[in-house]
């Protein structure tokens, strides 16, 4: 009886709901306001505008439906750039993940001089691409240092930058700069694993390989997804290396989406850019949502 009464009261209550005075409710919005204003004006509204424009011709401002999308997708430069970007991601991300994980694990196992090693691996993050790229040019030039070393074994010189090999140079330059970032993420994931798990496994007689497979790897699954997402999104910045090493019109093998966007931009090809940006945003959005879903699943296991 009492319960029913209480339930009724609660229902009445839910209808009114507890409302803090408006003075209190407005407080978080006051903190948010400056950021929200700038983000809206500089990013959000322009993005919506770009979305609208992607369905119009820039010149005549005439609605053309998916025309812009079709012309982008049919563009041979777009096909090349998209394929290259996909290839770069497919090659670079797994390499980056594996190398940074390996280094993080070794660093954990090799306790001494940890600070020095960590600093060493992070230093490239602080080096502007523009500073180091001069050196990459000297090393990978047709008459550069790498070919000089290879010549000692009588290997024929390769034009690393001007040929399809430039893809490898790009991967190298990207890994050199970015594996420290991922390593820090891995290290924090490793340090979050409860040491009692290892002790328990050791008492149960599990060898080091078994401990790695049964404890370290499964416990790093959530970290894996985080590292993967961030690496993926950071990988768009490889354009800096690509541009600095080989300029606006590099070898076909490293002609990336970013080059394409830049070239469209130079020609003020607004309809194409809008359509391209919308597609790219959509892709990134889907990737984020997908990975978040997997990430959440990884947590609940």
């Amino acid at each position: 009886m009492k319960k029913i009464l209480l339930r009724q009261r609660k229902k009445q209550w839910d209808e009114h709901d507890y409302k803090a005075p408006w003075k209190e409710r407005i407080v978080p919005w006051m903190f948010l306001a400056p950021s929200l204003f700038v983000v809206s004006v500089m990013v959000l509204l322009p993005l919506l505008d770009a979305f609208r424009r992607s369905f119009f011709f820039a010149v005549s401002n005439q609605f053309v439906g998916l025309q812009n999308y079709i012309s982008v997708l049919g563009n041979s430069a777009f096909k090349l750039a998209a394929a290259n970007t996909a290839k770069f991601i497919a090659v670079c991300i797994p390499l980056l993940l594996v190398i940074s994980l390996a280094v993080a694990l070794m660093l954990t196992a090799f306790q001494e001089k940890r600070g020095i090693f960590k600093t060493s691996f992070l230093v490239p993050m602080a080096i502007p691409v523009a500073s180091i790229v001069l050196l990459w040019r000297v090393i990978f030039h047709r008459n550069g240092l790498l070919n000089g070393i290879r010549a000692l074994w009588d290997a024929a010189p390769v034009d690393w930058i001007g040929s399809a090999a430039s893809f490898g140079v790009l991967v190298f330059a990207y890994l050199w700069k970015n594996f420290g970032y991922d390593m820090v993420l891995w290290l924090s994931g490793i340090s979050a694993i409860n040491p009692a798990l290892y002790e328990a496994a050791q008492i149960d007689g599990a060898g080091s390989v078994k401990r790695f497979v049964k404890i370290t790897l499964p416990n790093l699954m959530p970290t894996l997804f985080t590292v993967a997402v961030l690496s993926l999104l950071n990988s768009f910045k490889v354009f800096r290396e690509a541009y600095l090493i080989a300029g606006s019109y590099p070898d076909d093998s490293i002609y990336m989406l970013q080059h394409l966007f830049n070239n469209w931009f130079s020609n003020l090809d607004v309809d194409k850019m809008c359509a391209g940006a919308v597609m790219m945003a959509l892709l990134v959005f889907i990737l984020i949502m997908l990975l978040q879903k997997i990430m959440n699943r990884g947590d609940s296991v």
Partner: protein, 279 residues
């Protein structure tokens, strides 16, 4: 695996990192003559291969003198970089810290949606926003103006995300105590949020500096006027014919971020870790 073996691998990886940096440094000490002799095959596309001695054979500071005394335009470019990077970082803090405080300490309608929106925006590559930013900057008359770099940079949502995760570590009881003790929301933010969230703010500053000192995409797109170019772009366009000067320009370009890195490595790491934290 044996420990010494791991040590050797780690050592080799570090060498791999440090060698290019060392080469850069030693290169700056080579005289113009030595450098062009060493690099002749690269610069003149002749035969043979470039060489790079471990230590300059005839070390000289000549190139430094040349850059610092005879290239005044280099200082303009350096100053351009500063004028763009520091206001961006200031913007990150001034706009981002209160927003992060709102996300971390308050419950309000629409918070989850808004926060997700911020995360999505933070993860969008530059190319997605390039055209829309251009259009709005153009409308505001900011193209070929350093505001074209500063405003979109300051609107980044990554700092909000990082600072939110730092603010979340402040125990609730501390801000509740402040509320009971008579502090307004704003006073609580100013007197407790900012000092206690200082590591987060420093992380944002370090990450922001490294990122924007290095930024190329936005200046390239929005600054047609070369006199406004920052170091990163200027470097990309100095020709290799004066290799000595470009090497030193490279070295000077990397000094500020390197110094900030060395003093702020702790914050950089914390920033990276919190950028990887889930919401």
């Amino acid at each position: 695996m044996k420990k010494w073996f791991i040590g050797i691998i780690l050592f080799l990886v570090s060498v791999f990192i440090w060698v290019p940096l060392w080469m850069l440094l030693s290169g700056t000490l080579m005289g113009a003559g030595e450098l062009s002799w060493n690099l002749a095959p690269v610069l003149e596309s002749g035969d043979g291969y470039a060489t790079w001695p471990i230590i300059a054979n005839y070390p000289t500071l000549q190139a430094y003198v040349e850059l610092l005394l005879d290239t005044p335009q280099f200082f303009t470019v350096f100053w351009n970089s500063c004028k763009q990077v520091f206001p961006i970082i200031l913007g990150h803090i001034v706009l981002g810290a209160p927003a992060a405080w709102a996300f971390a300490r308050f419950e309000f309608r629409g918070k989850k949606v808004l926060y997700t929106l911020y995360i999505v925006l933070m993860l969008m590559p530059f190319q997605v926003t390039m055209v829309s930013s251009y259009l709005v900057l153009n409308k505001l008359g900011f193209i070929d103006n350093i505001w074209a770099i500063i405003l979109p940079g300051a609107a980044s949502t990554l700092p909000v995300f990082i600072m939110t995760s730092f603010f979340l570590t402040i125990p609730n009881a501390v801000t509740e105590a402040a509320a009971v003790d008579g502090a307004s929301s704003f006073q609580t933010f100013l007197r407790l949020g900012l000092p206690l969230g200082a590591p987060g703010i420093l992380s944002v500053a370090v990450l922001g500096f490294l990122e924007y000192w290095n930024a190329m995409e936005a200046p390239q797109a929005f600054l047609k006027d070369q006199t406004l170019w920052p170091l990163s772009l200027y470097m990309a366009n100095i020709t290799a014919d004066n290799a000595g000067v470009s090497l030193i320009a490279s070295l000077i370009t990397l000094m500020p971020p390197l110094l900030i890195f060395l003093f702020g490595q702790k914050y950089l790491e914390q920033g990276i870790i919190s950028s990887g934290m889930k919401d």
